[in-house]
């Protein structure tokens, strides 16, 4: 698809992710998707901004809230829906589901439901890239909750010590499930990351596709030349509950005004004209992918014990 300008391209990609996840919300009550989903709604701009300048050969190590990254990297939408339906045609043949999407063909290196657990994988892949002289940038994506974990700190230390070509991307939505950063952390995330000797950056406007792109693309450009590790924290906002498809503002663990303020600036809500311009095309593509998933076969008994070892 051709776009008039970069903004429209980024907008289109973000809108596509939002509409895909809204389709999941619509489908969820039918119980056709029988698995936990951690939706990225509110955080799409971060994924799109981060992935925009990456090449297919670059690798990204995401987490369980990973739909947006799979899609932003160009993952196959039919295989995506088939996977969350648990079908044999899914990107993991029905064995991974929403939390464990995998796409080696797009450098999407497998998602994990254990917080912070893929951060060292990115560092290890960066070590391999350097030792094998591959022209690759490796991206580790994680949330603020991951920075609570010891393995996060171990990984930053190793990457900095060995000067590995990895960019750490912290999507800070201020929440680990229902617990705010202020009740978990004695440090400011990006300031603390600097302790490991990493160049650190901060982007406050995670709702703004252009701002995220502007903040991130120089890091990619620099990494291509220097092959050195870098760090960026991007502030974002999770609109829905931690897991599932509902809002849970009545639960009282965060203020509604905070989310409303974020939504007032969200281009995927306020840019009515652009939404109208693109949504028909996107919705048709989504329907097509959902039909593919619905019509796909289930995995069989013979699949149960394959790929164990």
């Amino acid at each position: 698809m051709k776009f008039d300008n970069l903004y429209e391209e980024l907008f289109y990609k973000s809108l596509r992710i939002r509409l895909i996840e809204k389709k999941i919300i619509e489908l969820y009550p039918t119980d056709k998707i029988q698995s936990p989903v951690h939706l990225s709604i509110g955080q799409e701009a971060v994924a799109v901004g981060v992935c925009q300048e990456l090449k297919t050969t670059d690798l990204i190590f995401p987490n369980y809230r990973g739909h947006a990254y799979y899609l932003a990297r160009g993952g196959n939408l039919k295989e995506f829906f088939a996977e969350i339906y648990g079908k044999r045609t899914g990107c993991c043949r029905g064995k991974g589901g929403s939390m464990h999407l995998a796409g080696p063909e797009i450098g999407f290196m497998g998602a994990s439901a254990i917080v912070a657990s893929t951060i060292p994988h990115a560092v290890g892949a960066a070590m391999a890239a350097r030792k094998l002289k591959k022209d690759q940038i490796i991206i580790a994506v994680f949330g603020d909750g991951a920075t609570d974990e010891g393995v996060y700190h171990e990984s930053l230390n190793f990457a900095s010590l060995h000067k590995l070509p990895v960019i750490f991307v912290c999507e800070n939505n201020d929440l680990a499930v229902h617990t705010h950063t202020s009740t978990r952390q004695a440090y400011k995330i990006f300031e603390h990351a600097a302790v490991y000797g990493l160049p650190t950056h901060y982007c406050e406007e995670g709702y703004d596709i252009i701002k995220v792109h502007e903040a991130f693309s120089p890091l990619v450009a620099e990494a291509r030349i220097t092959k050195l590790p870098q760090y960026i924290e991007i502030k974002t906002c999770r609109y829905l509950e931690h897991v599932g498809v509902n809002e849970d503002y009545d639960a009282g663990y965060r203020s509604v005004s905070e989310i409303e303020e974020w939504k007032r600036k969200d281009p995927l809500i306020i840019e009515k004209e652009l939404i109208d311009k693109y949504q028909t095309t996107i919705l048709a593509e989504i329907e097509d992918a959902v039909m593919f998933a619905e019509n796909s076969p289930w995995p069989l008994l013979e699949d149960l014990l394959t790929d164990v070892i």
């Binding site: 993991c92 290196m109 994990s112 657990s117 060292p120 290890g124 391999a128 030792k131 070892i309």
Partner: protein, 369 residues
């Protein structure tokens, strides 16, 4: 690696020689680095003046600190880094000076490494070798002595090996590193490091069956299934009982504890009707229990006597030598157990060997660890 890789190269090279367990590990590491440019060795102590008990000594100088390197004390990240490196083309060998330390990276081993292939529907593979060393004797105590093969073997997705001899290492390690496409955990035994072995190219260990069990002694009276250093004890007991009581023991070195040769075990038990299992760890929920499961599920009627199992006492490993001697099975307890089963009574009348502690036999081990 190309398909012409000859994984029997080490066995051929050292055939006819006497090699210690330590030397065989060193040659396996040296050989891996030499023939496979994607191999890296990473762990605490691999590039220091002791070189992981001599098994990686000076390899850092020979192949560069880029390929054999010290790591931070960050077991979880290192296991995860090994996984990421594997996904992007390296073959990592991650080492732990003691099995106990690997507990710090159980998250990566159990939640990620074991599952990466399956949860991606086979789209990712993570070939790697994780070496861990069991400590025993000379006051290893609670946290330097654990033998946790059952933890790892319990989880689908891992291949768990317990080499009992130098030839087992020479046979399996080249295959694992150069040809096998999954994660392997090899649990080595510190007390075996200085034990010397005759390397014979036509022995059971040089068979074309890597990652399997080995029938290493034939006999009609009883089957002994053993792991790691207990294989040596089983052979000593078998020899003693043949000489002193005419009892013929059949000995199976389980070797690949996660995927034992069930047919080999059943064939043997069907023949002898009597079974003793000698493992390096606790009996409950472990190798002893698993071998019993195999027999009970396949042919319970083959047993003519109750099974006996030997392992560590159900306590934390004590440090004091007197207690440690009670804690571990030894030649005397094993010999007594075999005699009881074969004779069908406790007062079998067969004189027992008077050696008590394994550390009395393997006197070379003087610590510190």
């Amino acid at each position: 690696m190309n398909s012409s890789t000859d994984n029997n190269g080490l066995m051929k090279r050292f055939s006819g020689n006497i090699l210690s367990y330590r030397e065989s590990l060193f040659h396996a590491m040296d050989d891996a680095l030499s023939i496979n440019p994607h191999v890296v060795i990473m762990g605490q102590g691999v590039a220091d003046h002791k070189g992981l008990f001599g098994t990686t000594l000076n390899l850092s100088s020979k192949y560069g600190t880029d390929r054999v390197f010290e790591t931070p004390l960050a077991e979880e990240a290192m296991a995860g880094i090994a996984l990421g490196a594997s996904l992007n083309g390296l073959y990592p060998i991650n080492t732990h000076l003691r099995v106990d330390f690997a507990l710090c990276c159980m998250n990566q081993i159990v939640n990620l490494i074991a599952k990466y292939k399956y949860m991606s529907g086979g789209r990712f593979e993570c070939p790697m070798l994780i070496r861990m060393v069991i400590g025993r004797s000379w006051g290893q105590g609670a946290q330097h002595s654990q033998s946790l093969q059952s933890f790892f073997s319990h989880v689908p997705g891992l291949m768990v090996l317990m080499p009992s001899r130098a030839d087992s290492i020479l046979n399996d390690y080249p295959y694992i590193i150069n040809s096998y496409r999954g994660p392997v955990i090899s649990i080595e035994h510190r007390l075996l490091y200085d034990v010397k072995f005759n390397i014979e190219q036509d022995s059971e260990y040089s068979s074309d069956k890597p990652l399997s069990s080995h029938l290493i002694r034939k006999g009609n009276d009883i089957t002994i299934v053993a792991t790691s250093i207990m294989v040596l004890e089983a052979l000593r007991a078998a020899q003693y009982l043949l000489k002193n009581a005419g009892i013929e023991c059949e000995v199976i070195d389980l070797n690949c504890v996660s995927h034992p040769d069930k047919e080999m075990i059943m064939n043997s038990v069907n023949k002898t009707g009597k079974l003793i299992i000698a493992d390096t760890s606790w009996q409950a929920y472990g190798v002893c229990a698993e071998v019993c499961r195999i027999v009970c599920e396949n042919s319970p009627n083959s047993l003519k006597a109750p099974v006996m199992t030997l392992g560590m006492q159900p306590a934390t490993c004590p440090t004091a030598k007197t207690l440690e001697d009670y804690f571990y099975p030894n030649l005397q307890t094993l010999t007594d157990a075999i005699a009881r089963i074969v004779c069908g009574k406790a007062n079998h009348g067969i004189p027992l060997p008077d050696e008590h502690s394994m550390s009395d036999v393997y006197k070379k081990f003087k610590g510190p660890f």
